[in-house]
């Protein structure tokens, strides 16, 4: 499971740092960076005589953050257990189609559509988890394989958008309270729920334990297989929620809505940006949401500045690597002092 574990932390002598850094966890850094980004962005956009954080701006940021946020919450759980999921992008497309086709414009079919989409998502997660735990395939390859299978299914059966979402269900995608979309609030509710699950329940703790060291977890009597499968099921359900949300926004299902947005790698980027260790065992949902908000804010700022959209990718890449380099530096400093926080 720990294939992404790269012991890139050699023992190095490093000057001890002030104790004030103890509270400066990655989560805090992420939110400080977010605030700084908002300030800098506001100034830059202000120079053009516009306002970044007006109603439209906030709406834009939160709308962007909703879909990616849901996927990234799920991704956080699998990454915490030392796994990862590359199949989420196709799963988002698949669930949006299932939801929209089941509903087929009828109000009465909303609940069955949602439930069916979530059930299929959970099934895909179960397959992911079982392939990893029972067949002992590396998570990278297992989920890549499942992603390819889903892609084959989508390409075989769909050429474009399909299905129809009833008008009533579109409220989920478009209703808002002031500048805050309802869906963003629901996403945050899911985030809070996941935070509670990961940091306040026994099975949440188990995920950290498995990600930290699967052998130790196993020898301590934890059902490691079940824990990894659970993480994958939860991750896929989160991707299913994203698909349902996007179906409600688009009014129909779209096979490539997930891959066009690159949710597989993008969600991993958001999780890692939020300070979660790619090798697992450390991090959390709070940081992930910060990472998602940073990516969404960057996009919105660039849109307002009318920057070439491809420049966004360049900046995104640089930001990602810089952030992780920063965390790695702090961690190696902590290690040399023998503190494992």
């Amino acid at each position: 499971m720990s294939t992404l574990q790269e012991n890139t932390l050699p023992v190095r002598q490093q000057a001890t740092r002030p104790a004030a850094q103890r509270w400066l966890t990655p989560v805090v850094i992420v939110y400080i960076a977010l605030v700084a980004l908002l300030v800098v962005g506001s100034v830059l956009v202000g120079l053009r005589g516009e306002v970044l954080l007006d109603q439209g701006g906030i709406l834009n940021i939160l709308t962007r953050a909703t879909a990616l946020g849901l996927v990234a919450i799920g991704q956080t759980m699998v990454i915490l257990t030392g796994s990862l999921d590359l199949s989420v992008a196709y799963l988002v497309g698949l669930t949006s189609l299932i939801a929209a086709e089941t509903m087929a414009g009828r109000d009465g079919m909303v609940v069955p559509g949602v439930l069916l989409a979530l059930a299929v998502a959970a099934g895909v997660g179960l397959v992911n988890g079982l392939v990893i735990t029972v067949l002992k395939a590396n998570a990278f390859i297992a989920t890549l394989g499942v992603a390819l299978i889903l892609r084959g299914y989508l390409e075989e059966n769909y050429t474009g958008p399909a299905g129809d979402v009833p008008r009533g269900f579109q409220h989920l995608g478009y209703d808002r309270i002031g500048p805050v979309p309802v869906a963003a609030l629901l996403m945050l509710a899911v985030a809070v729920l996941s935070w509670w699950y990961l940091s306040r329940t026994r099975s949440g703790y188990h995920m950290y334990a498995v990600g930290g060291d699967i052998e130790v977890a196993r020898l301590s009597g934890l059902p490691t297989r079940r824990i990894i499968v659970t993480a994958h099921v939860l991750c896929s359900v989160a991707a299913g929620l994203t698909g349902i949300y996007l179906a409600s926004r688009l009014g129909s299902g779209a096979p490539y809505v997930g891959t066009d947005a690159g949710y597989d790698l993008e969600s991993i980027a958001a999780v890692v940006l939020g300070g979660t260790l790619l090798a697992g065992g450390r991090g959390g949902v709070a940081g992930t949401i910060g990472g998602v908000l940073i990516l969404a804010t960057l996009d919105t700022i660039f849109d307002d500045l009318e920057v070439d959209p491809f420049f966004k990718d360049v900046v995104r890449g640089v930001v990602l690597v810089t952030a992780v380099a920063l965390y790695a530096r702090r961690m190696s400093a902590n290690r040399t002092r023998g503190r494992l926080t």
Binding site: S2, G152, F311
Partner: protein
């Protein structure tokens, strides 16, 4: 000293798979009755095999290189833009593309080893940066054209005494493969595998861990640039030429029985994995399987291959194909590798 040729661990299954696929090709397609058909297959597979060899170096030393697909696109687009049809520019543009690959690999390696960022993230960032930069530079649609001299490597052939017409790309591939196999037999190559197996042990025994990993990334970048030159000649200029190649190369390496996470596997097997993948696509085409199902089949196959490799010994013992006589003298095996 008696030298007995032996297969590296995990090499045998991929060779069996490759053999089955080639037999399948011979049955399914009339084009594969004579050597020229297989030569064409090898020519088509050459870029992916070269990418897989580069990816092998990184994977066996415990990393990932997700940037090779974007690097291939960048190489092709840069070459097309700079050559712009003029024959005289070919030589220095080829050098420039190779240098660019080297540079990207160097940056990947330096960020991984010096800034301690996991290579998955570094190369993912590099993928984003390269993709964005290419589009920024070309405005979405690549301009310019490759010269005939540049395209020769991808599509041209050369007369070899005994074999007749052999494509350039096959010769380049063979040269790289032989060089890689020799390199992995040498001290540096063995140290590279050791880094992937147990980095701390190598460090404690005085190995230059950082330098070795840097070397792996530089080789991967360089070979991606070579693949770009071949693909540019073979497939032509487009901004999608490298799409998804990184996953395909990783799939090929894993299919070759190389352990993700490093420390196990042979470079020849990785190249054989790439050839198997290409043969599989060809076979599916011949059998009339639609392009859509192709990826589904690919998905199933890599899961099965990896599951077989990691369940490996357990399954084999249960199937009793090779009863426990591993340390007992075995009957002489035909020499092959």
């Amino acid at each position: 000293m008696t030298w007995r040729p032996r297969l590296a661990e995990g090499t045998a299954p991929v060779l069996v798979v490759l053999l089955l696929l080639l037999i399948g090709l011979a049955i399914a397609g009339p084009a594969y009755d004579e050597p020229s058909g297989y030569l064409a297959l090898l020519k088509r597979a050459a870029p992916l095999m070269i990418l897989a060899i580069g990816q092998y170096f990184v994977i066996v030393s415990g990393g990932f290189d997700l940037s090779v697909g974007a690097l291939v696109t960048a190489g092709v687009v840069i070459a097309a833009r700079l050559i712009d049809g003029s024959e005289s520019a070919t030589a220095w543009v080829i050098l420039l593309v190779l240098g660019f690959g080297l540079l990207v690999g160097l940056v990947n390696g330096l960020v991984t080893t010096k800034l301690l960022v996991p290579s998955f993230i570094v190369t993912l960032g590099m993928l984003l940066v390269l993709d964005g930069a290419i589009f920024l530079w070309t405005g979405g649609a690549p301009r310019g054209a490759l010269s005939a001299g540049f395209r020769m490597f991808g599509r041209g052939a050369v007369d070899v005494p005994v074999l007749g017409e052999v494509p350039w790309s096959v010769l380049i591939l063979l040269a790289i493969l032989v060089a890689a196999a020799l390199f992995m037999r040498g001290g540096t190559g063995r140290a590279l595998v050791a880094v992937g197996d147990n980095e701390a042990a190598v460090r404690l025994s005085g190995g230059q861990v950082d330098r070795l990993r840097l070397l792996a990334f530089v080789l991967s970048g360089l070979l991606a640039a070579v693949a770009a030159i071949l693909l540019g000649g073979f497939a032509g200029v487009s901004a999608q030429v490298g799409n998804g190649l990184e996953f395909r190369a990783i799939t090929a390496v894993v299919l070759g029985g190389v352990l993700l996470g490093g420390g196990r596997g042979s470079v020849v097997a990785a190249a054989a994995g790439a050839l198997s993948l290409e043969a599989l696509f060809t076979l599916l085409n011949l059998l009339g399987v639609s392009g859509a199902l192709e990826s589904a089949v690919q998905g199933v196959i890599i899961i099965v291959a990896v599951a077989y490799a990691s369940l490996g010994s357990g399954v084999r013992q249960r199937l009793r194909l090779w009863p426990k006589q591993r340390n007992v003298a075995r009957p002489a095996q035909p020499a092959s590798s």
